[in-house]
Amino acid sequence: MKSYLSSEYIVERNQDQCIRCKVCVNQCTYETHYYDVEDDAVYSRDENCTNCQRCVVFCPTHAITIRKNPNAYRENDNWTQEAIQAVKKQAETGGVILTGMGCDKPYFTYWDRLLLNASQVTNPSIDPLREPMEIRTYLGAKPDKLEMEIEGEDIVLKTEIDPQLCLETPILFSALSYGAISLNVHESLARAATEFGTLFNTGEGGLDPRLYKYGDHTIVQVASGRFGVHPDYLDIGAAIEIKIGQGAKPGIGGHLPGEKVSEDIARTRMIPTGTDALSPAPQHDIYSIEDLRQLIYALKEATDYTKPVSVKIAAVHNSAAIASGMVRAGADIIALDGVRGATGAAPKIIRDNVGIPIELALASVDQRLREEGIRNKASIIAGGGFRSSADVVKAIALGADAVYIGTAALIAMGCTVCQKCYLGKCPWGIATTEPWISKRINPDIASKRLVNLLRGWSMEIKEMMGGMGINAIESLRGNRLHLRGVGLTDTELGILGVRMAGD
């Protein structure tokens, strides 16, 4: 069948600048560029280009420019280029349209409608460069009250504290599964988390034993497919996370395409090499809050109650009620993943249409747990499209204890959010398991870039806190008086628990 689809991008090459070095030919994993021996020239197949910018960055003479294909259909606000291309693609294949990364629609980024406070005249601001500024964060169930006793000269804590995670910054790397990404990326995340004093999350594909040494900085995930879950894996992690859902694809499971299931991945997941790794939507031992409690306590039993258990859900309409049930089921940490949360592969229709923004879910969950008097029994990690330290600070003011960053971490390593992770040929060496591509991520360099990102964001967080006259992150947590909304309706402000700017 002849395809009626047109290429999305046009590759322009300045032939005067091109020195025929073939770097672009070698760097593009989609075979966009090719060298013609007879012409002694490099040409391009535009239809293969995903605009990942790998060739642009690596071209030594800057000869390449990628442009959006100007051959657009007639302008139409309903039948956009994207909508028409999608229909044509499905008419030609009869398939579900896949995509990668998070929702790219501009509907609802409330962070951009929330503004932070700063001290003026009264309550002086604090300079974090010269004064102590505390952003260390503990995650886990906190006691209702503390009992202490004086024994001689010492004050001794009598209350037994549930296991806690200690983070030097309120930012963790979110779940990225081994298989969706390569061992090098896992290693980069693990080393950066270890160096900076935070944690990375294995995702649902297990953990290669070569990375067990970073266990104290690892959250091990348990999902419906139970890939790579065994006693050693549970033992080495600092915490265990039960994955119920993720923001990019609430309510559906995952298929790791067979192309990505290499021998190493197959060994870790314990499935045949080259087969699709199927994670069904439900965990078949969890059909209720009571069942969730059963799995939480199975994991606590398996690790002798030594580590917190987190439960991750996608932000959906009833998140507040579900979160209440999760806390009562024994979750020490609740991870909420908003609609802009990313993925290695999801049906585009689900990614862009299912779930709710993290801002609203976070505000309603925090409010509900406070009203029920159980907010201290679990920490909240918010995730789903956090782009900057400002988003982090706003989330903490809305009630989060910490945030998960996934996309931002990948961008730090080289990702350009071209949304083609599901092809398994990521030219930046991230969302791939092919050895010749994945070696493009050098853990020495990538972990350095990640540490730099955490350092930069942490300093910015301290600056913003100092500006508000706050010197400990606990004073900011759930402190919605430091937020004001702009351009929001009364209903939106009500759900966010935030007043209008100027009020």
Binding site: K89, Q90, E92, T93, G94, G95, V96, I97, L98, Y138, E160, I161, P163, Q164, L165, C166, L167, G197, L199, D216, H217, S224, G225, R226, F227, V229, H230, P231, A238, H255, P257, G258, A266, R267, R269, M270, I271, P272, G274, T275, D276, A277, L278, P280, H284, D285, Q294, Y297, A298, L299, E301, A302, T303, D304, Y305, T306, K307, P347, Y422, L423
Partner: protein, 275 residues
């Protein structure tokens, strides 16, 4: 980062708190066998006692009057023998690595959930999702099992978990199976309580299911295939072990023809997407 310094040893604490009652009245050591009376004992206390006995190097534990206590055998890292008299609760041997568990009674749901090694022998029947995501070891169940037995069973190269079911199974047997072996003997298939399993092997993409006799209601991802020499050998080994545990006559069990069910494709959903 793990904050180890603020942790207390929970087991020691439980024993200190309930020490005299738990260890003196509930546990008796007779001829190197530790006997626990589990009447009314909270599962967390029972499992704490098991951990302590395991740590003290006990080789065999008999637990009497078990009545619904969950997670027995979880987090026991030695190859000890545990005999359970009564009805253990859900998730018996969940994430288990090493023990050999013999249940003299029925088991509830999630028996052997994500089990990594060891042995579970059930002199009775099992509830739903028996052997969920099993990665290693063996489960032998004398009677029937509930729905979705063997779901997500895994395997890689020579690591092949196996589950033998003496009776029949409910629907979705071996769903999403990615590896391992399920053998259903159907020794009581004629009885009314034990219908033929439906949607067998739905979503299966690895591993193998053997059924003694015929089976017709299959998931669309699997097909009946011919038994070859290595299949026959594997069935013989598993049936022999099954007969040893439960006293069935080996020749009689082997007298019927066996059916083999395997996935048609390793990529059942390979054509689902538009790339």
């Amino acid at each position: 980062m793990k904050e180890k310094n603020i942790m207390t040893d929970k087991n020691e604490e439980i024993i200190t708190k309930f020490g005299s009652e738990l260890l003196q009245t509930r546990v008796k050591i007779e001829n190197d066998v530790a006997k626990i009376d589990a009447t009314g004992l909270y599962y967390r206390h029972l499992n704490a006692v098991l951990r302590i006995l395991n740590g003290k190097g006990v080789e065999r534990v008999d637990i009497n009057n078990v009545y619904g206590q969950r997670y027995i055998g979880t987090d026991i890292d030695r190859n000890i023998e545990i005999h359970i008299y009564g009805t253990p609760g859900n998730d018996l041997g969940a994430f288990m690595n090493s023990p050999n568990i013999f249940v003299h009674g029925n088991v509830q749901d999630g028996c052997g959930n994500t089990m990594n090694g060891g042995l579970i022998v059930v002199h009775g029947g099992a509830g739903d999702v028996a052997g969920y995501s099993m990665r290693g070891g063996k489960i032998f169940i004398r009677d029937n099992v509930g729905y979705r037995a063997g779901i997500h069973m895994k395997g890689f190269q020579n690591i092949r978990p196996s589950m033998v079911i003496g009776g029949s199974a409910r629907g979705f047997l071996g769903e999403y199976m990615a590896g391992g072996v399920v053998l259903v003997l159907g020794l009581n298939r004629q009885s009314i309580e034990c219908p033929e399993p439906k949607f067998v092997g739905t979503g299966m993409h690895g591993g193998v299911i053997y059924v003694r006799g015929e089976i017709t209601d299959l998931g669309k991802e699997v097909e009946v295939m011919d038994i070859d020499g290595s299949d026959a050998e594997l069935i013989r080994i598993l049936v022999k072990e099954f007969c040893n545990y439960f006293g069935f006559d080996f020749d009689e069990v082997m007298s019927r023809k066996f059916t083999k069910i395997m996935p048609v494709s390793y990529r059942p959903y390979g054509r689902l997407y538009a790339y």
